[in-house]
Symmetry: C2
Subunit: 313 residues, 2 copies
Amino acid sequence: MPGYSQRLNDRILSCRTPALVGIDPRWDWLPADVRSAAEARSSNVLERTALGFEAFSKQLIDIVSPLVPAVKPQVAFFEQLGVAGFQALHSVIRYARKSGLIVIADAKRGDIGTTAEAYADAWLAGEDPEAAPWSADALTINPYLGTDSLEPFVKLAAKRGAGLYVLVRTSNPGAAEFQDRVSDSQPLYCTVAATVQKLSESTRSQDQTFGCVGAVVGATWPTQLQELRQQMPAVPLLIPGYGAQGGTSADTAGAFNSDGFGAVVNSSRGINFAWQRKPYAEQFGEARWQDAIAAATRDMIRDLAENTPAGTL
Amino acid sequence: MPGYSQRLNDRILSCRTPALVGIDPRWDWLPADVRSAAEARSSNVLERTALGFEAFSKQLIDIVSPLVPAVKPQVAFFEQLGVAGFQALHSVIRYARKSGLIVIADAKRGDIGTTAEAYADAWLAGEDPEAAPWSADALTINPYLGTDSLEPFVKLAAKRGAGLYVLVRTSNPGAAEFQDRVSDSQPLYCTVAATVQKLSESTRSQDQTFGCVGAVVGATWPTQLQELRQQMPAVPLLIPGYGAQGGTSADTAGAFNSDGFGAVVNSSRGINFAWQRKPYAEQFGEARWQDAIAAATRDMIRDLAENTPAGTL
């Protein structure tokens, strides 16, 4: 069975880009046609919102699946809609996988012992979408509870050909508060990074560069990104913070090895709602929102190719 | 509108105990009668497991609702069952609230910005169960991403009369690894505790001892528990690790103020599956599993009353 990183890298190579598209639907920002269609199908607010999210996400998937290797649904926006939201998420993830996309569920889960096992079993389908109810290829997880809380995830991920991305240095303004606390001349995120490297190395095949345990490091911290790329040679990175959050492609350059592998760079709002933003608002407008999404995705791919080692893919 | 801590303390006072019962169903451990009934209703594994979880949880609620102030459903075990699991969880939480119980959803969520807002909006119903799809009174959250990731939760909790429990010092063996890293002579969990105290103080009414932001501190660390009670006077505590995880009532004594308020102590497996354990296995057996649950709950209540300041309630 090919491991997660091998499957991801195969997709990256065939798309020739490390661009990752977030699936982050918000009702107020959905195109009017998607909202009206959903409103016609249900008068219940949670249900119609979930229907709108599902329809929008599937159209987004249709547009980006020929262009990028992977998508990252933000679980919180679906969870906010109760059971109807989870029904939509379930359908969206299956649809993305059938479209050939790698699906990274951004759920930031974390717990101990058998509870961690339950979360892992819930999300980490790995190679076979039927192996877990939430059918994800990979999952984001939180390290605060310690290595013993990460191990059940790693064990199951390795078994199912699934991947993990441990939060190491997040993209928010307050990330430094706890993550940069220095002990024995090392900030916390470097201590966590050492753990992640060790865990990923333990899952790595000899013929592969990367294991199945990745790390989340924000594009908003380019210095740390470069440093962490060096510190974690067996760890694939997930880089949020590009675009709407202020990170540029040049900021992410340090996340890649010279062959262009080693990271996926995420954009959510900048792609999902491209028609509301310059220059796509003028060029396409709401009526051609799908074309705006396609153009924004192609522009991101070009930007990464021009300004990072991913251009060599 | 009464705040979360006021509502919780009213319930603690009327039950005269700080005992909190975890709702942690596992299929293999359910009583045979519950499993057969579920199997008769569905042949789909996830569906029948969810039906079993729902039926068991509701019977558990019927038994403990006259005895204890609150229950803590472990979200992971429901999430593991896909959409069917969330349908069951939804029904279980509503049922618990209708039974007068305070519901603390143990989901350990955490994210940044508008994503944190979405999780808060999903879970924190507070006083009105209809105010959020998941209808919880309170939610456990993870602090790794920083204070700015906690603030959206605090803001909504204060608005809706809901509560939060931030992971500070967890009950697992590996908790010390990151949480005890010392910087400027202070372990990380004390830095997080200072933040939690500050956040909770900002939500406290002048006539109340506690704000709406609580902390999770494991019973398995009695010294830290006592220290944190002092360091966080405005913070209600949630103490996991009693019973099956090895913590005793004496270990939790330091978590209380002299009036017996200040903490809820959780037992999950020791209550849920009491009939599989000494001395209840011999006394009741599987046929009288409900009586075993009632006896284990009463024994826990007595144990806490005899060995902690909660005896003065």
